[in-house]
Amino acid sequence: MDGSLFLQSLVLGILLGGLYALLAAGLTLYFGIMRVVMIAHSAFLILAAYLAWFFHRETGIDPLFSLVITVPLFFAVGVLMQRLLVARLRPITLTMMSVLLTFAIALVIEGMLGFVFSGTQRRIQLGYSGASIEVFGARLAVVKLITFALAAASLAALYAIMKYTRFGQALRATIQHKEAAQLVGIKTDRVAGYGFGLGLATAAIGGTALALDATIYPSLHWHWIGPLMAIIVVGGLGSIPGAAIAAMVLGIGQSLLQIPMGTTWAQTIFYVALFATLMLRPQGFFGGRLAQRF
């Protein structure tokens, strides 16, 4: 194998893994807090990407600034969605019914995007979309670096919130043992709502990052949800660090496997990893205590 191609693919894999990590973080968070399988997560990603594209088209300002609007908006939508829809599902069948509910939400979002913006494939035209810098013979695209930086910053912020704030402690307590958390006075319903909002806020960031370097269309979200689901299972359901590590491993793996296997077969790494995880270590490879309860 050509050394420079290997290095280039490795770099691309790391950058891709960063994006996967951000996109998967929110997904694993919903499951951790509420045992909700959020099929609509990737639909919200695409919605955020469309909003970034629309914002750029209407104002001409860099799409990154759309985050100022979309992050609070998505947080609010997440809280409302949890309080008004998800909280009404019966606890016994919550996980299963949440699949149906969020599947419906995904379809609604896809349909609305198609209705409002049509099925035409869109791309944000940026002056720096083709720009890159060279590091040790590998080329790093500026947009991919921005995406990676956004992902790293958001994941760091998420980690800090979870680890060092009272809200984060309450959230983790809710994840670990809901009844015990209620006993020490945590309003788990409210905490769960905010947690859901937090997850959707990561979708806003991830979607905007995606829009910088991809052509978007309403049904694009179906291509994302499969790999993301595989990542969070491999990483251990509910574990954010686990999801991040799994995302990085699988992202790099996919990128490197494309050299010998081609694009079609390299995609299967997600599902091979999913099967292997379920057979060998159903609680996930990086999951913490939570995952072991399943």
Partner: protein, 407 residues
């Protein structure tokens, strides 16, 4: 129940055809007794459902053709009248539609519907009745592998031949200027692969080495790894068998890696008006084959564009042009043979088209025995920010730019 009805219709149709054949024989020298009425042409189109958009485009093209013919005094001195049914993009309906158009309405001629999926069943019905079947859409290989004796595709070329002019041009380059290596990336789709691999076969025969040959599934959105392979090979030319988003994403990924080929050709995407919006100023030098452009300086095209624009307020697209071409092809056969009705006349029309070339808005067309057009697509290139025809020589609007400027 329904089979019984069809067989009754078929018997009726045979009787009808026989009667028509008889009247045709009897009246051929005198010009025909009831030949003063309009020539009716039956069409079934997907006006609703999956193919509604292109289906309506084809309808506009047919209607434009009929209006132009009638303005010019009709066919064989008779007016033409279109009878268009909506098949709702449904292959079962398209069969029933053509059955009833031919057998019950006793139309004189039929035109094809839109898309391979509907062309094949419709052509089968027309074949059973021995009707000439010229169709405006359906370039995929399977259309021509059914053994239809009556089918003609009214467009310049099947997918494999789209790049023929470019291939000839490359082969004619002096040896020291010719690209020596080529990279191919094609979507796993019969049409997209056909375009790229059609050129690949010709380039390999001409001694241009294939250094990358990547096939990707239609759902691929991340092209950075494919781009990395192409960049590492440093191929002199890149050919994309692409639709739309794949071409855009691949081109941007190649630019990010600072890969600078001497020649870059991508099917379909560059002719899309969205393309320059997505790529920005970096389109310069990108090549693309195209079956039709309103700017082409081809006889009858200018008149078509003018009259169409006057009627519809906007210039015609490729669907409209291919439909118009279908009309021109059938009209040429009808004028040459001198008849337009069911029965023996249809076989004469078919035989005439086998042996003759027809001038159309997309250029002169002729066909092989399976109905494949023998032409090639024009090659367009982004020159000075606009997409212009560069090949073939006879219709070019600008000189081909080679080697391609850096993107």
């Amino acid at each position: 129940m329904s089979t019984k009805t069809t067989s009754i219709i078929r018997i009726g149709a045979m009787l009808g055809a026989a009667t028509l054949a008889l009247t045709a024989c009897g009246g051929s020298d005198s010009g025909g007794g009831d030949d003063d009425g309009p020539i009716t042409i039956g069409v079934s189109l997907p006006l609703t459902g999956d193919f509604a958009e292109p289906g309506k485009g084809v309808q506009r093209g047919y209607e434009a053709w009929a209006a132009d013919v009638n303005d010019a005094g009709g066919l064989l001195g008779r007016k033409v009248e279109l009878k268009i049914l909506d098949d709702q993009s449904n292959a079962d309906r398209v069969v029933a539609d053509y059955e009833s158009l031919i057998a019950q309405d006793e139309v004189d001629l039929v035109f094809g519907p839109f898309s391979t999926r509907l062309v094949v069943p419709a052509a089968r019905v027309a074949d059973e009745y021995g009707m000439l079947f010229v169709e405006p859409a359906g370039a995929a290989p399977e259309v021509f592998e059914q053994g239809f004796g009556n089918l003609f595709y009214a467009a310049p070329a099947v997918a494999d031949d789209h790049y023929n002019y470019l291939a000839e041009w490359i082969e004619a380059l002096p040896a020291d200027q010719r690209p020596k290596t080529a990279a191919y990336a094609a979507m796993d789709d019969p049409f997209a692969m056909g375009t790229a691999y059609g050129l690949k076969d010709k380039m390999e025969a001409a001694g241009i080495k294939t250094v990358v040959d990547e096939k990707y599934p239609p759902n691929t959105t991340d092209f950075s790894s494919i781009a990395a392979k192409i960049e590492a090979s440093n191929a002199d030319m890149i050919v994309g068998g692409t639709q739309y988003q794949d071409a855009v994403n691949l081109i941007v990924a190649l630019q990010q890696l600072d890969y600078q080929p001497k020649l870059a050709a991508f099917s379909t995407a560059p002719t899309n008006p969205e393309f320059p919006e997505a790529i920005g100023s970096k389109t310069e030098g990108i090549l693309s084959p195209t079956g039709y452009t309103e700017q082409a300086d081809i006889p009858t095209n200018k008149e078509f564009v003018e009259s169409y624009t006057e009627r519809n307020g906007n210039p015609p697209g490729e669907d409209e042009a291919n439909a118009y071409t279908t009309g021109q092809v059938v009209a040429a056969a009808v004028e040459a043979v001198g008849c337009a009705e069911q029965g023996d006349c249809q076989q004469k029309l078919i035989d005439w088209l086998r042996d003759n070339e027809v001038d159309t808005v997309v250029g002169p067309l002729s066909w092989d025995e399976d109905g494949r057009p023998k032409g090639a697509h024009m090659i367009q290139q982004y020159v000075g920010g606009d997409i212009k025809i560069v090949l073939p020589e006879s219709v070019k609007e600008a000189e081909i730019v080679y080697p391609k400027p850096a993107w």
